[in-house]
């Protein structure tokens, strides 16, 4: 993918450096000259937003760890100490707790974009699987972070989620005791969750590097799903993509700030302002909103082992998406039927999310079962068959042709 300038060191020091550690050249080729399809829409800006959110979570998290005490008797109080006494502690804590939600908002949009435009298809399978790994690590990190304030939802969330592992045949109970470090959720559990919550984000950052590396090997997908064929189809990453990402990032920060400053507890649970009490279970126990669809799937199945298997399967199945989808056409733009099923899938996930927040009784369970069937049916039945029977629309010859249907792109594009 040539045609864009390569890095030329400007002064003697940079020339000296470039021969020894070509980091400036790497940055230049990856984030400046890197050719990016010119037709990317705003849904493609969420990768940048996710990097920003990861950075924001790590920075605010490191700060919170300076003031937090991971002990069952002190955790709740130390968090309230942050909220009350630490300079701007309330701000940093709300940035972190709401930041987790914003991170998941962005990751869900990012995943949905990938599914809509077929960004998981050949040759981007590894890129996609790395993304699924990041998502799994995010879920683990988010869960353990929610345990740290040691409120009622923290404690009972830890109890319920760790008990999922009790479903494993034969060794289940041993695994659970190993996770707890005791006969019940207690101080050892809190301590190890704190340790892992601190370290996992750096593991995420590591996989993100691989994710971006893989992206730069295969290149970005685009709304047409066809590969760039010439320089006319691409623009330089900087300034074009950077300014666009920057604009959307600030817009995203508006949403983030709305939650942090105006409704900071909206996405949390009132029960988590009650200190953990191992003697009393909250009447209505639900996970954070971003786990609700999977929680609904878990509860839809009236068998512990199968429920846990379905919960795990509903996430792991994403990793097999590149092979479950048999269609040769990437973008839903040219797949009229897939598009319908895709939106039904999105609605199913939202519906499951709502059901996950409701008590597991009556009509809620039945609805959750119907939606769970569609959730898996979409992957196992719809996607493999659709590739064989769907009549796709004709693809444009090139990206620039899709933008300028008249033929040649406007001449000023070269300017």
């Amino acid at each position: 993918m040539s045609g864009h300038a390569t890095y030329q060191p400007q002064n003697a020091f940079m020339k000296w450096m470039e021969r020894r550690l070509p980091i400036a050249g790497l940055v230049y080729s990856s984030f400046v000259a890197y050719p990016t399809p010119r037709n990317l829409n705003y849904w493609w800006t969420f990768g940048g937003i996710l990097s920003f959110m990861l950075g924001a979570q790590i920075i605010t998290g490191i700060i919170l760890a300076m003031h937090y005490t991971p002990h069952v008797d002190l955790a709740f109080k130390s968090v309230e100490g942050i909220m009350r006494d630490v300079n701007y502690g309330w701000l940093i804590r709300y940035l972190h707790s709401n930041g987790a939600s914003m991170f998941f908002v962005a990751v869900y949009i990012h995943i949905a974009r990938g599914m809509y435009y077929g960004s998981y298809k050949e040759p981007r399978e590894v890129l996609w699987i790395l993304g699924v790994i990041i998502y799994l690590l995010m879920m683990a990190t988010g869960f353990m972070g929610y345990v740290l304030p040691w409120g009622q939802m923290s404690y009972w969330g830890a109890v319920v989620i760790t008990n999922l592992f009790g479903a494993i045949p034969v060794v289940g109970d041993s695994v659970v005791a190993w996770l707890w470090g005791g006969y019940s959720v207690g101080n050892p559990t809190l301590n190890r969750f704190f340790s892992l919550h601190y370290v996992l984000p750096f593991a995420i950052a590591g996989v993100v590097v691989l994710h971006i590396w893989a992206l730069h090997v295969v290149g970005q997908n685009n709304p047409t799903g066809i590969d760039p064929k010439s320089d006319k189809d691409t623009v330089a990453f900087t300034p074009y993509a950077t300014i666009k990402d920057g604009f959307v990032m600030v817009c995203f920060c508006l949403l983030y700030a709305w939650f942090v400053f105006y409704v900071p507890n909206y996405l949390g649970h009132a029960d988590n302002y009650i200190p953990a009490n191992p003697a009393v279970t909250p009447t209505h126990i639900v996970p954070e909103w971003y786990y609700l669809p999977f929680y609904a799937i878990l509860r839809a199945i009236p068998n512990k082992l199968l429920g846990v298997a379905a919960l795990g399967g509903s996430i792991v199945i994403l990793a097999f998406l590149p092979w479950l989808d048999t269609s040769k056409v990437r973008s839903a733009r040219y797949r009229p039927l897939y598009r319908q099923f895709f939106w039904m899938y999105i609605a199913t996930v939202i519906g499951l999310g709502y059901l996950g927040s409701q008590p597991p009784e009556g009509i809620y369970v039945i609805a959750a079962r119907i939606l769970t069937i569609y959730y898996f049916g979409f992957f196992i039945i719809v996607l493999p068959l659709l590739g064989m029977f769907e009549k796709t629309k004709p693809l444009p010859n090139s990206i620039s042709e899709s933008i300028f249907p008249a033929g040649a792109p406007a001449s000023k594009a070269k300017a």
Binding site: R38, K77, E80, M83, R84, W90, L91, Y94, V235, P239, Y240, I243, K244, G246, F247, V250, C251, C253, L254, A257, W258, V260, F261, Y262, V263, P264, N265, Y266, A270, D271, Y273, I274, P275, T283, P336, R339, Q340, W343, M344, I346, A347, T348, I350, G351, L352, Y354, L355, Q358, I363, Y364, A367, A368, I370, L371, A410, K412, A413, A415
Partner: protein, 275 residues
């Protein structure tokens, strides 16, 4: 085509959400009525006089059973609170007895200092349970720890309207909720019927009566006024930096709007070369 997409989306959503949303208040707990709060909304600030009245109610009534252990005396004089002076806060502190250890190692009591937290009415939970049959919850973050289900679609709209006064509304309702129990309701020993308490069986006797606390500022000495004042006080106690948060929030929002506008035009300018 877009229409059809939207249609299928809508149908599926209805399947998922609305189908499963028959009225949820089946347990028969009514929603607490909404109150007008000075601290609601993006420009909300506390009514200092109300916080001072609420503090008086806490001190003379609630504190007999309920601790508020995360609150310190110095908080009373910090900005964004009830607006006492540092000297007044110190005076209040000195009126409380704080358990301490003297030089010879014996347990003793000394007058409170501004840095001290409010002392607890019970030495431990077991003592409280023994006296009252239940542990009276700590009141430090009670206003954030109590809520009620708003139901679909209100819970979504609350995100936009910034309605988050579920806690104080519930506290006010609870104070009004002591009623005669329905004839067929089984009430256990040493418990009371409360319309708004989940399950209706509350161990706390109606704590407030008209005229119980004397106000110096001419506010009505009624249960209604007391309950609103204590609820406001508890909101402040749970979130002492709320005013600062909302004030900084406005600055941040305005800043981000300006920056996003500038970035939008910059982006347009940059991309004008290729469009």
């Amino acid at each position: 085509m877009i229409k059809r997409t939207a249609l299928s989306f809508a149908v599926a959503f209805v399947l998922g959400a609305a189908l499963a949303a028959p009225v949820m208040a089946a347990e028969g707990t009514p929603h607490p009525p909404r109150n007008k709060w000075s601290f609601a909304g993006p420009f909300g600030t506390f009514d200092r006089a109300q916080l001072q009245r609420g503090f008086k109610v806490y001190r003379e009534v609630c504190s007999v059973c309920h601790s508020i252990e995360l609150l310190t005396f110095r908080n009373l004089s910090e900005p964004g609170g009830p607006g006492y002076s540092a000297a007044q806060a110190a005076t209040v502190a000195a009126e409380f007895k704080i358990p301490d250890i003297d030089d010879s190692g014996q347990p003793t009591e000394r007058p409170g200092r501004p840095a001290d937290a409010f002392p607890k009415p019970f030495a431990n939970d077991a003592q409280a349970r023994n006296t009252h049959g239940a542990v009276p919850p700590d009141m430090s973050v009670l206003a954030k720890a109590r809520t009620y289900e708003r139901g679909f679609p209100w819970f979504l709209l609350d995100m936009v309207t910034q309605f988050q006064e579920h806690g104080p509304d519930y506290i006010v309702a609870l104070m009004h909720g002591y009623k005669e129990k329905p004839a067929d309701f089984q009430l256990p020993e040493a418990a009371y019927y409360n319309e708004y308490f989940p399950g209706h069986v509350i161990k706390m006797k109606a704590p407030l009566t008209d005229g119980q606390v004397t106000y110096d500022d001419g506010s009505p000495a009624t249960v209604d006024q007391y309950s609103k004042d204590i609820a406001a006080f508890l909101v402040w106690a749970a979130e002492p930096h709320m005013e600062q948060r909302k004030r900084i929030g406005l600055q941040v929002m305005l800043f981000l709007i300006v920056l996003s506008g500038l970035l939008y035009f910059t982006k347009k300018k940059v991309w004008s070369a290729v469009h």
